[in-house]
C-alpha cells in the first residue's frame, strides 16, 4: 500500500469501520441484516436480480421519507412511521416491478412483499438520533450497494454449486452440491462466506496498522 493511503486509512479507521457500508461494515456480513432474502429465495442470479431491484427501489426512498416524517414525531412512534412508509412505498415498487419482471416475480414469491418489514429497510427506527436528509440518502444508497454485493455473490455461488450454471449458462455438467439451493445450504454457505469476509476485513485492518508502524 502507498504511504498516503495507509495514513488515510489509519486516521479514519474508526470512522470508516462504522460508516463504510460496503466492505468494512457490510450490512449483511457485519450487522446480520437482510438474511432471509439471501438465504432462501436467492438461489439463482435471476432471482437475485429481482430482489436487488426491489431493495434498490424500496430502501432509499423509504429511508428518506421516513426521516422526513420522523423529525416531527416522538421516538415512540418511529417504528410505526417506518413500517407504514415502507408499506406505502411498496405500492409503487410493486407496480414498477411487475411491469419490469412480470411472471419472473414468482421466483421470489412472498420475499418481495416481505421486504416491507425486513430489518435491512426499517432497522433505522431503533436508533434514537435524528439524521439529515442528505445523510439518509447517502447511507441508503451505500447500504443498498453493500447488500446487493453479498446478494449476488451468494446467488452466483449457490447457482454454480447447485445447478452448475451461472445466469442460466452451463459451466459444467452435473451439480457439485445440490444442497446449496436449499435453505440449509444457503445458511451454511452464508456462514462460510461471512467468515471469509470477516477474515479479509481483519487482515485489511492488520495490514493498515502494520503499515502505520513502518511509516517514515
Amino acid at each position: 500500500m502507498k504511504d498516503d493511503r495507509v495514513r488515510y486509512f489509519a486516521e479514519n479507521m474508526d470512522r470508516l469501520s462504522r460508516r463504510d457500508r460496503v466492505f468494512l461494515n457490510n450490512p449483511v456480513i457485519m450487522q446480520g441484516l437482510g438474511l432471509a432474502p439471501i438465504v432462501i429465495p436467492a438461489n439463482s442470479v435471476m432471482s437475485a436480480a429481482v430482489l436487488a431491484m426491489g431493495v434498490l427501489l424500496l430502501l432509499t426512498p423509504t429511508r428518506i421519507i421516513a426521516t422526513l416524517i420522523g423529525q416531527h414525531v416522538g421516538f415512540k412512534m418511529r417504528a410505526v412511521v417506518y413500517a407504514l412508509t415502507a408499506g406505502v412505498v411498496f405500492i409503487a415498487v410493486a407496480y414498477i416491478m411487475e411491469s419490469l419482471f412480470g411472471t419472473q416475480l414468482l421466483s421470489v414469491g412472498i420475499y418481495l412483499p416481505l421486504l416491507v418489514m425486513e430489518p435491512l429497510i426499517v432497522k433505522r427506527f431503533e436508533n434514537p438520533q435524528k439524521e439529515r436528509i442528505v445523510t439518509s440518502f447517502k447511507k441508503g444508497i451505500l447500504t443498498t450497494i453493500g447488500f446487493c454485493l453479498v446478494l449476488f455473490i451468494m446467488a452466483a455461488l449457490r447457482e454454480v454449486l447447485a445447478l452448475g450454471t451461472l445466469g442460466g449458462i452451463e459451466i459444467f455438467r452435473g451439480p457439485l452440491l445440490p444442497m446449496a439451493s436449499m435453505p440449509a445450504g444457503g445458511f451454511i454457505l452464508l456462514g462460510v462466506v461471512a467468515a471469509i469476509w470477516r477474515a479479509a476485513v481483519n487482515a485489511f485492518k492488520k495490514n493498515v496498522s502494520l503499515g502505520v508502524k513502518k511509516l517514515p
Partner: protein, 339 residues
C-alpha cells in the same frame, strides 16, 4: 522427530480402536460388494486428511497427524452409503462433515452436532435417489469374468438392479421378504457396511471390553425404538383390535426395524461419539430415549430411510441441556449439610 518423543493426541487411542472395529465391517462389505468399497473408503480417508491439513493451515495451527477423529468420521460415512454411490458424493459428504461440522466449530470434541450425521444428511438431501437405492449383495461376483468389460461392470455396477432397503417396504405397510439369517448376516440390499448385525455386535463387545464406549445410551436408544415399534408398528395388518394374537408379527416388525436401516450401526458407532454424548449417566439415559423417539419420528413421518441421522441432529441441539440440568441439582447425600 523420533517416535518416542512424539506426543499422541488425547483421542488417538480411542479413535484407533474405532477404526480397527470398522475394518471387519469393510471386510464384509468387500465380500458383498467388491473392490469398489475399498476405493470409496480410500477416497474418503484421503479427503478427510487433506481437509484436516487445510483447516490447520487456515487456523495457522500445527497439523497434528495423530488427531485421527476425521478418519473415523470418513469411514463411518462411507459405511452408511450404498456401494454404487459416486465418488463425488463421498467427497462432498466428507468435506462437509470435516470442514463445516467439525473444523468450523473448533475441531476435536467441541462440535455440537455429530459430524457423521451432518455429512450423511447433506449427501442424502442432495442426492436422495442415489443414496436410497442399493445394489443387491454378491452380485459383483457374477460379473467378475476375466474380460475387461466384466471387470468394468464389477467396478461400476453397470446394469445392476437397484432396490430400496427394507425400511421402504415397512413404510408402505408391508413386511420385507428377507429371512432372519440374511438380516443377521447382512445379506440384503442396504447400506454397504451397516447391515451385518453379527459383526457389528462383535465390534460392540470389543469396544465395551476395551472401555471405549459405555452401553447406557445405545441400550436406552435400542430399547426405546423396540418398545415404540412394538406398540406402534408400521405393518398395516396389525392394529389395536388384533392385539393379543399378533405378538409374533409385532416382534418380527421390531426385528426388521432394529436390524434394518443402520439402527444398530448408529447405536454402536454414532451414539458413543465422545463430543456429543452427555457425561452424566442419567442424562445419557435421557439422550438415548430421545434419540430413539426422534429416530422413529423421522422414519415414520420423514422422507428418508435412514432417518436416524436427521433425528440425531435435532437431539444434539438440546442434549447439552441435560448435563447442566442434572449437574445443577443440589447434592442430597447423607451427612452433607445443605446451606
Amino acid at each position: 522427530m523420533s517416535r518416542q518423543t512424539r506426543t499422541l493426541h488425547e483421542g488417538y487411542a480411542a479413535n484407533r480402536d474405532f477404526i480397527a472395529m470398522m475394518l471387519p465391517l469393510y471386510l464384509m462389505a468387500f465380500f458383498y460388494y467388491g473392490p469398489r468399497v475399498l476405493a470409496l473408503a480410500l477416497i474418503a480417508v484421503i479427503t478427510a486428511r487433506i481437509s484436516d491439513r487445510v483447516a490447520a493451515a487456515l487456523r495457522r495451527h500445527r497439523y497434528d497427524s495423530t488427531e485421527n477423529s476425521s478418519v473415523v468420521i470418513a469411514l463411518a460415512i462411507v459405511l452408511m452409503m450404498p456401494a454404487t454411490v459416486r465418488f463425488r458424493v463421498v467427497i462432498a459428504a466428507v468435506l462437509i462433515a470435516v470442514l463445516v461440522a467439525k473444523a468450523a466449530f473448533g475441531g476435536w470434541q467441541s462440535y455440537p452436532f455429530n459430524p457423521v450425521a451432518v455429512g450423511f444428511c447433506a449427501a442424502t438431501v442432495s442426492w436422495p435417489d442415489e443414496m436410497m437405492h442399493y445394489p443387491a449383495p454378491l452380485n459383483w461376483m457374477l460379473q467378475s469374468s476375466a474380460s475387461f468389460d466384466g471387470l468394468w461392470k464389477m467396478w461400476t455396477f453397470d446394469g445392476a438392479a437397484l432396490v430400496e432397503g427394507p425400511s421402504a417396504t415397512l413404510q408402505a405397510g408391508g413386511l420385507p421378504k428377507i429371512d432372519m439369517w440374511s438380516m443377521l448376516l447382512g445379506n440384503y440390499a442396504g447400506p454397504l457396511g451397516a447391515t451385518c448385525t453379527v459383526v457389528i455386535i462383535a465390534c460392540a463387545i470389543f469396544l465395551v471390553v476395551k472401555k471405549r464406549m459405555s452401553l447406557v445410551a445405545p441400550l436406552c436408544f435400542l430399547a426405546t425404538v423396540a418398545l415404540l415399534v412394538f406398540i406402534f408398528p408400521r405393518y398395516s395388518e396389525i392394529s389395536f383390535q388384533t392385539l393379543p394374537y399378533d405378538i409374533p408379527q409385532r416382534l418380527q416388525t421390531v426385528a426388521y426395524e432394529l436390524l434394518g436401516g443402520a439402527m444398530l450401526f448408529a447405536a454402536v458407532f454414532l451414539i458413543p461419539e465422545p463430543g456429543t454424548l452427555p457425561k452424566n449417566t442419567l442424562s445419557r439415559v435421557i439422550y438415548g430415549v430421545l434419540l430413539g423417539v426422534a429416530a422413529l419420528l423421522f422414519r415414520y413421518f420423514g422422507t428418508y430411510e435412514l432417518g436416524f441421522c436427521f433425528g440425531m441432529l435435532i437431539v444434539n441441539a438440546v442434549s447439552g441441556y441435560f448435563d447442566r440440568a442434572i449437574a445443577q441439582r443440589p447434592a442430597r447425600r447423607k451427612g452433607v449439610i445443605q446451606p
